[in-house]
Symmetry: C2
Subunit: 518 residues, 2 copies
């Protein structure tokens, strides 16, 4: 019965016999044993995988504490998806709120997040964000980030205005000044086109370092860049204090996202940058990181299938057609959802209609609505042709191949609901329509579809940003994580502006942890 020695420790005491062949970990999925590494090419205190909010915050804290930091970014530029996101940031119980008499609390913030998250969020991680968010904001302001002064955004799903508006209008408003600040710290090294490959693991299950490839050329044309791209030259790097995972989400990982939600097909577009793949996450699962809520993908329900990524038509579809107009199924000519519901409810309804035959619903409004909204919302989409304009509803129906007779009936029915202030079909709140319906020509129409915006799930961390093992139920020594690669903060669906504070805060905390190590 003792044909193999089950004591791993026993084995490793005799590690003189261990050779590089130990690397041939049976599953090609459990990291590289440190004992198989003859020598390291580089040694740093901290290795950070990813250069978005979480990675930069970690690098700042660790770098300023004098630690030797290596930040790896596989893409040609730093910032990842953080650089192109909206950039506004939630900060419950902040000085601007206080000055404006807005009453907020940690408990209210957690409750708001858990409502949208369907109750499966990790309350301890949300509590940590609430406790530390003012420190986080101070950190980025000290770097030179600029917010619209004395102003709080009232974002969807939040009970009170609690979000700072970034002046730059996108996440680049953090990435640029933080990057500039990092470049001033001589002990921080940032490498782009540097692709993480694997973890180097100590015999005690700790992360000792990583292998990565320099001069990597990401190739967005591959089905799976992670699997197929062999570019670059391998480097082994020792991380004496630890490794930080700040690799983001997997909204652009064709295979892994469909494994989690089969409704998502290869052609399902995403608002994310093409580098948002699951490679680092899968490697982390391979060394035991506990998977948390991987199957909750968040979609933006007001995207357009004829333009790539975020596109230019989102504001029109959202604010003209979904706030005030209507959305119909071409096949039935009828409405099928509360057009003003939350992201998840609407995306689920849209997916059902779209089915497998790309039956994109049509979002519709009229001339009076277009005159009531920000003119910039319709100008570019009309020029680019995603939004079409028609003299009659019949022409609109013909163009989009909408089942005409029931559609014309449905518009009348909807207009009646607006007049009565009572949506008998979907209980939509119509009081803010102020009489606007779909009756004044010309009429406007646009196809709509959900696009993947954020992946909720990831590895499990504790409030110190330590990654937790499903095998031991304990922290994996030397492994930290923050941002979209982590699961649990947002539960099933996240509120706008919470991803930014999440990534910055847990990045900061990981950096503090490294700085506090002896």
């Amino acid at each position: 019965m003792n044909s193999i020695d089950m004591s791993r420790r026993g084995f490793l005491k005799g590690a003189a016999v261990a050779t590089a062949s130990m690397m041939a970990s049976a599953a090609a999925n459990a990291g590289i044993p440190a004992s198989s590494v003859k020598s390291y090419d580089e040694t740093f205190d901290v290795v950070i995988i990813g250069s978005g909010f979480a990675g930069m915050a970690c690098a700042l804290k660790a770098g300023r504490a004098g630690l030797k930091v290596l930040m790896l970014e596989k893409m040609p530029v730093v910032g990842g998806n953080s650089a192109i996101c909206g950039g506004n940031v939630a900060c419950p119980v902040n000085p601007v709120q206080k000055a404006q008499g807005i009453k907020d609390s940690k408990e209210l913030f957690i409750a708001d997040c858990m409502k949208d998250g369907l109750g499966i969020n990790y309350p301890d991680l949300l509590g940590t964000i609430a406790d530390r968010c003012n420190d986080t904001i101070k950190m980025v302001v000290d770097c030179g980030c600029e917010f619209v002064p004395n102003h709080m955004l009232f974002e969807g799903g939040h009970s009170v205005p609690r979000s700072y508006e970034i002046k730059a209008g996108s996440g680049s408003g953090y990435i640029r000044p933080m990057h500039a600040e990092l470049k001033k710290i001589p002990n921080v090294v940032i490498r782009t086109r540097a692709k993480f490959d694997d973890f180097i693991m100590g015999e005690d299950g700790s992360v000792q370092g990583v292998t990565y490839r320099r001069n990597y050329r990401f190739n967005a044309k591959l089905v799976s860049d992670d699997l197929e791209n062999k570019s670059g030259k391998t480097v082994t790097v020792r991380a004496t204090k630890g490794v930080m995972l700040a690799a983001g989400g997997f909204s652009r990982d064709i295979w892994f996202r469909q494994t989690q939600d089969p409704r998502v097909v290869p052609t399902t577009d995403s608002t994310n940058q093409p580098g948002a793949t699951a490679g680092v996450l899968i490697k982390a699962l391979g060394i035991g990181a506990a998977p948390v809520q991987l199957c909750w993908l968040q979609f933006l329900p007001y995207c357009n299938p004829r333009e790539k990524g975020f596109g230019v038509s989102v504001n029109f579809t959202n604010h003209a057609c979904m706030d005030l107009g209507m959305v119909v199924d071409r096949k039935t000519g009828k409405r099928f959802m509360d057009e003003h519901a939350g992201r998840k409810i609407k995306s689920d309804a849209l997916f059902k209609v779209i089915g497998t035959d790309e039956n994109y619903p049509i979002a519709i409004c009229d001339d009076a609505i277009v005159k009531a909204i920000n003119p910039s919302f319709v100008k570019l989409p009309l020029e680019l042709g995603t939004v079409k304009k028609f003299n009659t509803l019949e022409e609109l129906a013909d163009h989009f191949k909408i089942n005409k007779a029931p559609f014309l009936e449905e518009v009348k029915r909807f207009n009646g609901f607006v007049k009565a202030g009572d949506d008998k079909d979907f209980h939509r709140i119509l009081k803010f329509n102020k009489g606007l319906d779909v009756s004044k020509p010309p009429f406007y129409g646009i196809e709509c579809c959900p696009k993947i915006h954020h992946t909720m799930g990831g590895v499990k961390i504790n409030t110190h940003a330590q990654v937790i093992s499903a095998v031991t139920h304990q922290p994996i020594k030397g492994l930290y994580a923050g941002g979209e690669v982590v699961g649990g903060v947002h539960g099933a669906s996240r509120l706008g502006t919470v991803a930014v504070i999440d990534a910055l805060t847990f990045g900061m905390i990981a950096g503090e942890q490294f700085a506090a190590m002896k």
Copy 2:
């Protein structure tokens, strides 16, 4: 840059130097390299982990084909959770339906499942079940399973009657005859108290065998039996054709289930047997098996917190109070959900009320309702004291500490809804109440809570029951799976009677795959 040789294949050609120390896989999470196994204690064609529906179906097919089969069961008896489940089984498009003129189709079955599963089910796996279910039923009937003749159950969520009712009244109606049949096959060896420990992995990433412990003594008192229990003696077994995972779900895994859904606390009860833990699943993830939809746990919403497991009060709470009576929050005295909604909707609502302070809602009915239901539903719960009987609503409120004044108002309001046939608060269908409300003393009350009933997620398989790797996107050679350890079949929430056909069918398919190997 070449301090380590990145070619795993290159290494392994020089495997003469590889010693048992290769087993010291860095992460303690990637299986045992076959090259480290000096000799195997046993050799079989097929090793099956688990002895429920999927395991037994696989053993039957492989065993009857003449293969040497080893079935491992960690508990003292075979059958796992399958033996104690309800046991009725869906079979779309079957001869009884045909004889009774019930029109069913593969497409309707898939649509029904996907409706409850929130659309994230794997349609190909559901299609396979529909294609093969009559073969599955034949297999179990040939073993001696008995169904109520010429009878189809009309189960919740199904559009037509399509489920056979097992005569025995539970899953033991399959396990007993299948076990008896397996015992007749000399080349099938069944071992109880035999606990799977790890996979033995070939250098090509294939599963070559497993290690397990004989004379294992499962200890339900441990927080994690998988982690803490060191009993038994290790055996290495070679599986020349492959390993079948039939290890069930993780409804009783305190740590892993809370990682997926933090609302579930250690004291959250489950209707499952205590051996339903995540150990095998986590080991499978460690060798690269793709995780699918792990965070969808299904709860039965009409359980009782004062009795363990499934208990005796479920029918009373379900059919008396939720079908006909009402459920209130003690703190507010008010209703908070459509008591007749689906399992998921009700469980979510109950969790919200229960919160962290065990504020169990009270399910209530009156004498007229009790006289209208099956008398057996109330007899035992009254005797055991889970259901309490009161002369007045005031006494009921006092006993359960319900906020009395609003509660008495709420009962009146509810009775008014029944009379009007219109539930203005939760849009519950009241037409089947036929006038029954909560007005005739004595009144009955019982605490209610959801208990974990089934875990939807698991490893990814294809329609041949092959486990798919997240690392390679290809089947893991030599690894098969079926039943609750697999994810994707049920999506977010499964319909009753579909778990049985799922497990039996993919077990059968895995057995056929082994039998077809040369």
